[in-house]
């Protein structure tokens, strides 16, 4: 197990450099005129242009310029300096302010997905073809079919503005209650997927030989389901949720925008819109690490859940 973790960590280093290189290259290639993008439609003065060009080495173009800027960026990164955004703010500070709220939001979403998704999935799996099973199938199909870009404003309008059950936006320093609605909206998609996965897995495992053995041993149904079936059924769900944690952390660009939560997705969106290369690359570099770590945790959880799975 130890060797496996070390090996994975080494792979992570490679993956990290590979992905940052790709992201940097994409941002570099896609960049039109970031100075004009920053100014919107106002004319840019020569002085302002010269100032920004020099500060961000925007005159280094072509392949040579690309590697010059990339290595400059990486060497700063290794010293823990994420650089400055085009508006002159430290990207480290931006991220430090953005992470806590995004993590809170992601945790709420995951909690919603696990508590409601897995529970309902188990129930639906046990009572296959019941009214409950069919009802959840219909509901999850509906949720999976509605993209967040529709669901989030709808939820905001009805629950926030019309009926005023929740505050319509969360703002910068939200309490748990203000984050609940965005969390539910964000988690609803994961919830639906987790529910379908759990239901299928449980339904399948209920017919497995070891369940019949457990039943014939005279074990109570509750124990059969909660210990034998559930543990085995959770493997695909854990895989899914592991990847989902990465997804949710990467910031729900839409949800954070609709509910005005200045998290990671909020900043990423602004970075893309204003062609702020340093900001986008900085955020994505950190996200790469989040993905890598969450995948590692999933791999380790496999081994815990299923002793047959061992990596050596």
């Amino acid at each position: 197990m130890f060797r496996f973790i070390v090996r994975r960590l080494l792979q992570m280093v490679l993956a990290f450099f590979g992905t940052t290189l790709i992201v940097y290259a994409l941002m570099f290639a896609g960049q039109g005129d970031p100075i004009q993008a920053l100014a919107g439609e106002r004319p840019v003065t020569a002085a302002q242009r010269a100032y920004l060009t020099e500060k961000y080495h925007l005159d280094a173009t072509g392949v040579g310029g690309f590697f010059y800027r990339y290595f400059d960026y990486i060497s700063n990164l290794l010293r823990g300096d994420l650089g400055e955004s085009l508006t002159g703010r430290s990207i480290g500070d931006i991220l430090a302010a953005a992470w806590p709220v995004t993590i809170k939001l992601a945790l709420i979403a995951i909690a919603v997905a696990v508590v409601f998704g897995v529970t309902a999935g188990v129930l639906a799996g046990i009572r296959r073809a019941s009214i409950f099973d069919n009802a959840t199938l219909l509901l999850t199909l509906l949720v999976l079919g509605i993209p967040t870009i529709v669901l989030a404003p709808l939820a905001q309008y009805f629950l926030g503005v019309k009926w005023q059950l929740f505050p319509p936006t969360a703002g910068a320093d939200p309490d748990f209650f203000a984050l609940l609605l965005p969390g539910i909206v964000l988690g609803s998609l994961s919830l639906a997927t987790a529910l379908r996965l759990t239901r299928t897995s449980v339904a399948e495992n209920l017919r497995a030989d070891y369940v019949r053995t457990a039943r014939s041993k005279g074990l109570p149904n509750r124990r059969v389901v909660s210990v034998h079936v559930l543990r085995n059924s959770l493997i695909p769900v854990i895989t899914f949720l592991g990847v989902e944690v990465g997804n949710l952390m990467s910031g729900a660009i839409i949800t954070e925008g609709v509910f005005n939560i200045p998290g990671v997705g909020f900043n990423l969106f602004r970075g893309i819109r204003t062609e702020d290369g340093p900001l986008v690359v900085g955020i994505v570099s950190v996200l790469v690490v989040v993905y890598l770590v969450s995948n590692l945790v999933v791999d380790i959880l496999y081994a815990v859940l299923d002793p047959r799975i061992r990596y050596e």
Binding site: L165, G257, N260
Partner: protein, 534 residues
């Protein structure tokens, strides 16, 4: 908030089981009595900068308008009058004497002196500081010496202190409307505390700017979250009627709109496009419109053979039904334009475009064919600005009314469009917009149509027009200057290098908790007039 949360928890199960519409929003907002101890909450986007000479977008200048008091403001007729200045006078339109009012202090207690203005303007004009608004100082003598990589000088030779409350500004050329320029953000003073060394801005000044205006900072700029200001009691000018303002930062206007609807936010400065059609019913008389300074137009590449004939340009203008487009596409959030300057400036006259601004398809077609206009027209625009709808509508009108083929071509960003236009690539007609820097006809005519204008991308060059502008700038007074500018504008109607299409409007709204919400010419909420309702 507390109360509503409790109500929400109890209402949720009710609403679910009974399908009830729960929880009204406490309806006692109508008393209308002003509450001087309350703060109001105003929507802004994250400002790019909060240094006066570096701020040229509306969010930043809205915050700075709370922290600073301008030298001049503008009256109903859009003419400047003194605020922080006692008097601004000139004999020859070249050397201007600015006398400051006594009694103004910065929020840290420093008295405001002439030096504060001189230091701030020098800082703004010095090219290596990379200030966004440095071009505002280009009319001042010595500006050129501060430009380039290693400028010859660090201070403008045209700025001279006379005494503590007086200084003179010498311009490199006479300019009759210099006074009108001074109301903008770039001309605020900076306290000594803003500088760590002469000409060097202290680190962290931007996080909590110290000004001499009616409000002072409360805490620091909380990026992506809010900027809070509170009333500065030692302010000698007209005191605001609220205790403070919270500028709340939004990334998406739809979120701000939802907050205004539920009284979680007091003022939204721009109603999002998708809500414009319902804003009237949602907000009632709390949905307001006011003229803005922006002008939207289609520009001709006059250097291209096919558009070099003014009759072709006039025919195209006559074939566009402006009313139809502002009504069906913009839901009356913009107004049809038939002039080259906005109603937001003194000297504006209606319908200066004249006959070629009237929608007359039959005449347009005859004229177009007689002048031999091209059989295919391209309209170029930037795809990220929501212009597709009206460009397509315009194209359809041209197709139907002129019998030509017309396509709208999107460039990804405005910068891409500009690059192509500057390189004189054949993009066809292209869309442009203009927002004034200061309320003067000159600001619409000079940069856009003079031969060396900074934003004259259409190759329009008319020596008579240039001469009239120069005469206007050196005219003895404002009235005389406006006359010259109006003559110049009439000349544009003859040549029609661009087709004016629409004037922008501010479409803003407010909650039930505030009143007297007004917007100024620079798209800023008037913070002196706004009142909170008890």
């Amino acid at each position: 908030m507390r109360v509503r949360r409790l109500a929400a928890w109890t209402a949720l199960p009710l609403a679910v089981t009974l399908g009830l519409v729960a929880c009204g929003s406490g309806g006692d907002g109508g008393s209308g009595e002003s509450d001087p101890n309350a703060a109001v909450r105003i929507e802004i986007a994250e400002p790019q900068h909060l240094v006066p000479t570096n701020t040229n977008e509306t969010s930043g200048s809205q915050v700075l308008a709370a922290l600073f008091s301008p030298l001049v403001d503008y009256d109903e007729a859009h003419k400047p009058y003194e605020v922080a200045a006692e008097s601004i006078t000139s004999e020859d339109n070249t050397t201007w004497t600015i006398k400051l009012k006594d009694g103004y202090t910065f929020h840290n207690g420093e008295a405001v002196t002439a030096e504060n203005y001189i230091d701030a303007w020098n800082y703004g004009a010095y090219a290596p500081n990379g200030q966004n608004s440095s071009y505002f100082f280009e009319k001042i003598a010595g500006y050129d010496d501060l430009q380039g990589d290693s400028p010859k000088a660090k201070t403008l030779s045209g700025l001279k202190k006379v005494d503590d409350l007086t200084f003179t500004v010498t311009l490199s050329q006479p300019y009759s409307e210099f006074k009108a320029m001074l109301g903008y953000t770039a001309f605020y003073p900076l306290p000594k505390a803003a500088f760590s060394a002469p000409g060097e801005l202290a680190e962290g000044y931007e996080q909590a700017p110290i000004g001499q205006g009616p409000f002072k900072m409360k805490g620091t700029w909380q990026h992506d979250a809010k900027v809070e200001v509170e009333r500065y009691d030692a302010f000698p000018g007209e005191q605001p009627k609220v205790a403070g303002v919270e500028f709340r930062i939004y990334q998406q206007l739809t979120a701000a709109y939802a907050d205004v609807l539920s009284d979680n936010l007091d003022v939204i400065k721009t109603i999002p496009t998708e809500n414009l059609s319902t804003a009237g019913t949602d907000l009632g008389d709390r949905f307001q419109q006011s003229p803005a300074s922006s002008l939207h137009f289609l520009a001709f590449p006059t250097f291209q053979e096919e558009f070099s004939n003014p009759d072709v340009r006039k025919a195209i203008s006559m074939a566009i039904d402006r009313e139809e487009i502002t009504r069906s596409i913009f839901k009356d959030s913009q107004q049809p334009a038939r002039s080259f300057v906005s109603p937001a400036v003194a000297g504006y006259r209606e319908n200066t475009v004249g006959a070629s601004g009237e929608f007359d398809p039959a005449k347009a077609k005859t004229l177009y064919q007689a002048a031999g206009g091209p059989s295919k027209i391209t309209l170029s625009y930037n795809g990220d600005g929501g212009h597709k709808d009206w460009i397509d509508a315009t194209c359809n009108q041209l197709k139907a009314n002129l019998g030509v083929d017309c396509v709208g071509t999107a460039e990804p960003k405005f910068a891409d469009l500009l690059t192509k236009v500057k390189a004189k690539q054949p993009v066809g007609l292209f869309r442009m917009g203009w927002v004034m820097d200061y309320p003067s006809m000159e600001n619409y005519l000079g940069p856009l149509y003079s031969t060396n204008g900074s934003s004259n991308y259409y190759g329009y060059s008319n020596p008579d027009f240039d001469r009239l502008l120069a005469e206007g700038a050196s005219a003895p007074d404002e009235e005389a200057a406006i006359k010259k500018y109006q003559e110049a504008e009439d000349m544009l109607a003859e040549d029609l290098p661009v087709v004016p299409l629409r004037f922008g409007q501010n479409n803003f709204g407010h909650s039930t908790k505030v009143k007297n919400v007004e917007m100024d010419l620079f798209d800023r909420i008037d913070l002196i007039k706004i009142e909170a309702i008890k």
